[in-house]
């Protein structure tokens, strides 16, 4: 039996793929919309293991019937042009994993621009679908390089809304749910006091001090966080042989 041996060879990137897959645990028959390679590998791994009813697309307009390797297409089962994506967003039957230029302790996210609204110092995409995603359905974030620049005290522009923006008197906010933040250092949620960011687990080899040094605000539960679980042998072979034989995951995280 080579379980022990293969465990020692598991890379940080593979730990991250599995953590991204677990974002979708129990998601059921909804659309998984990963916006980065790591999150895409996670969604497809989940679909090939515990979540076979997830819907995934080719990132353009087609719903994939099979679960091909990253960068590959395959047989389709349906049509999902952009205008129909907005119908899915409004229906709530979706879990998106977005990237983030900034995230604060309450889960506010910025991918729009840095600096003042009408004269930014650096322009990115604009708010894209982040306001609609975060108020309508579960949203998670993937951050490949956990740093104080990303995990900042306050975001310059709120594109994805955090827990301190929720008005409990207004039912329009009832479906707001920032489920997970996965980074190269660990797995987090917003289950800390007053919905602040909390450490659920740190990846093998990551110390609490490293997370603290790379986060501008205090992370709840950091000292008591466990270790992110290892991939199973089945997960490892799916990642390495089926979904990502070329090692795209290693470009996101070393």
């Amino acid at each position: 039996m080579t379980t022990t041996e293969s465990t020692t060879e598991v890379t940080r990137a593979e730990i991250c793929v599995v953590a991204c897959a677990e974002i979708f645990s129990g998601a059921g028959e909804i659309m998984a919309s990963p916006m980065a390679p790591m999150a895409l590998l996670g969604a497809r791994l989940a679909r090939l293991t515990s979540e076979p009813d997830l819907l995934i697309t080719d990132g353009e307009a087609l719903i994939l019937a099979d679960t091909p390797a990253i960068g590959r297409s395959g047989p389709i089962e349906g049509w999902m042009p952009f205008r129909k994506v907005f119908d899915v967003v409004a229906s709530g039957r979706r879990h998106v994993v977005m990237g983030a230029n900034q995230i604060d302790r309450y889960g506010n996210q910025n991918l729009s621009a840095f600096g003042p609204l009408q004269q930014p110092t650096r322009q990115m995409f604009g708010v894209r679908g982040a306001p609609g995603n975060t108020i309508n359905h579960p949203t998670s974030y993937w951050v490949g390089r956990h740093s104080t620049r990303v995990f900042t005290d306050s975001v310059d522009i709120v594109s994805g809304i955090g827990y301190d923006k929720v008005d409990p008197e207004n039912p329009a906010f009832d479906d707001h749910n920032i489920h997970r933040v996965i980074t190269n250092l660990g797995v987090f949620d917003f289950g800390g006091p007053d919905h602040t960011m909390r450490a659920l687990s740190l990846h093998p080899g990551v110390e609490a001090a490293e997370v603290a040094e790379n986060t501008s605000f205090e992370v709840a539960g950091l000292e008591s966080a466990g270790v992110t679980r290892q991939p199973t042998a089945e997960e490892l072979s799916i990642i390495r042989e089926v979904l990502d034989p070329k090692g795209v995951r290693n470009r996101e995280v070393r």
Partner: protein, 299 residues
């Protein structure tokens, strides 16, 4: 003498001749996908100015910013859809404060066009609540409270997305007839029918101008996105969506990167402008073909 149906075939210059300073213009497509670039190029080299642009933005907005045509922009995002993703001229216009941004959630653009298409003053939408979208709009964007309480007695307050009424819409469809019937042949219609339905004047450019009979035999019925009621002029513009993709051709990634590289320096931008922008569409297409050949040779 029998009445003759309207032939809407026009030139790019005839379309631009109908536009006025200060107009609100909606541009179809999405990011760097099936953008009406021939019309955008014609607008960029015209004298028309002080425009308000409504778009799922790509290099369409970038080129109009480069030409100093844009006073205000309503958009869900601006993206080139491939590296380096951020449009350099839109970024320049923003960081210099040259344009007023009415940034919004992507779904709000669709919602605002639908309101205009239905001649409604607004439509309610969740997206935007709690975000900085309301601050971008500087008081222009308001909320509306439901007259119907939820089952638990609380009442929903939603964004009242105002109608995005357009003076003019530009769209690019892959195949059309001379009366304004038109179809897309790629995987996605984007919002082109909504842009037309929200506009007073509707301008269509197309790669293939064919008879009605050929059009309807060329595509399944569901692809016939535009009918005659929603189009005022039809411009035959083969490869008109270049350097974005359309149904019959891919994105010219190399040329898009060249556009971005050229924007980095005044001298290279002047060279790019002289060769590709201060010229008519025919010359543009010829110079693009020559540029592509040069790239092949230098490999």
């Amino acid at each position: 003498m029998a009445a003759v149906p309207t032939d809407k075939t026009s030139t790019l210059d005839e379309v631009i001749g109908e536009l006025r300073d200060g107009m609100t213009i909606g541009i179809g497509g999405w990011g760097s996908r099936r953008k009406p670039m021939a019309l955008v190029r014609a607008l960029a080299r015209s004298d028309v100015k002080d425009l308000t642009v409504v778009t799922y933005g790509g290099a369409d907005l970038g080129l109009l910013c480069a030409a100093g045509k844009v006073r205000r922009a309503y958009y869900g995002f601006v993206s080139l859809d491939s590296a380096p993703f951020y449009d350099p001229w839109f970024a320049h216009a923003r960081t210099t404060g040259a344009i007023e941004a009415r940034e919004m959630d992507e779904g709000m653009v669709k919602c605002g066009l639908e309101a205009a298409a239905s001649r409604l003053p607004f439509l309610p939408i969740r997206a935007g609540l709690g975000s900085d979208v309301l601050n971008f709009w500087e008081g222009e964007l308001k909320t509306v409270t439901s007259p119907y309480p939820d089952a638990d007695g609380r009442t929903q307050t939603l964004v009242a997305m105002p109608a995005l009424r357009l003076d003019a819409a530009f769209v690019h469809l892959d195949i059309a007839d001379n009366r304004g019937n038109a179809a897309y042949t790629g995987v996605d219609p984007y919002m082109d029918d909504l842009f037309c339905a929200a506009a007073d004047r509707r301008y269509l450019e197309t790669d293939q101008l064919v008879s009605t009979e050929v059009l309807v035999k060329s595509v399944p019925h569901q692809r016939l996105l535009l009918n005659r009621m929603n189009v005022d002029k039809v411009v035959h513009a083969p490869n008109g969506a270049h350097f974005t993709f359309a149904g019959e051709y891919g994105r010219d990634e190399a040329f898009q990167r060249f556009y971005v590289e050229s924007a980095k320096d005044p001298a290279t931008w002047e060279a790019f402008s002289q060769r590709f922008l201060r010229v008519d569409e025919e010359t543009y297409q010829r110079e693009v073909a020559a540029w592509q050949a040069e790239q092949e040779e230098s490999k």
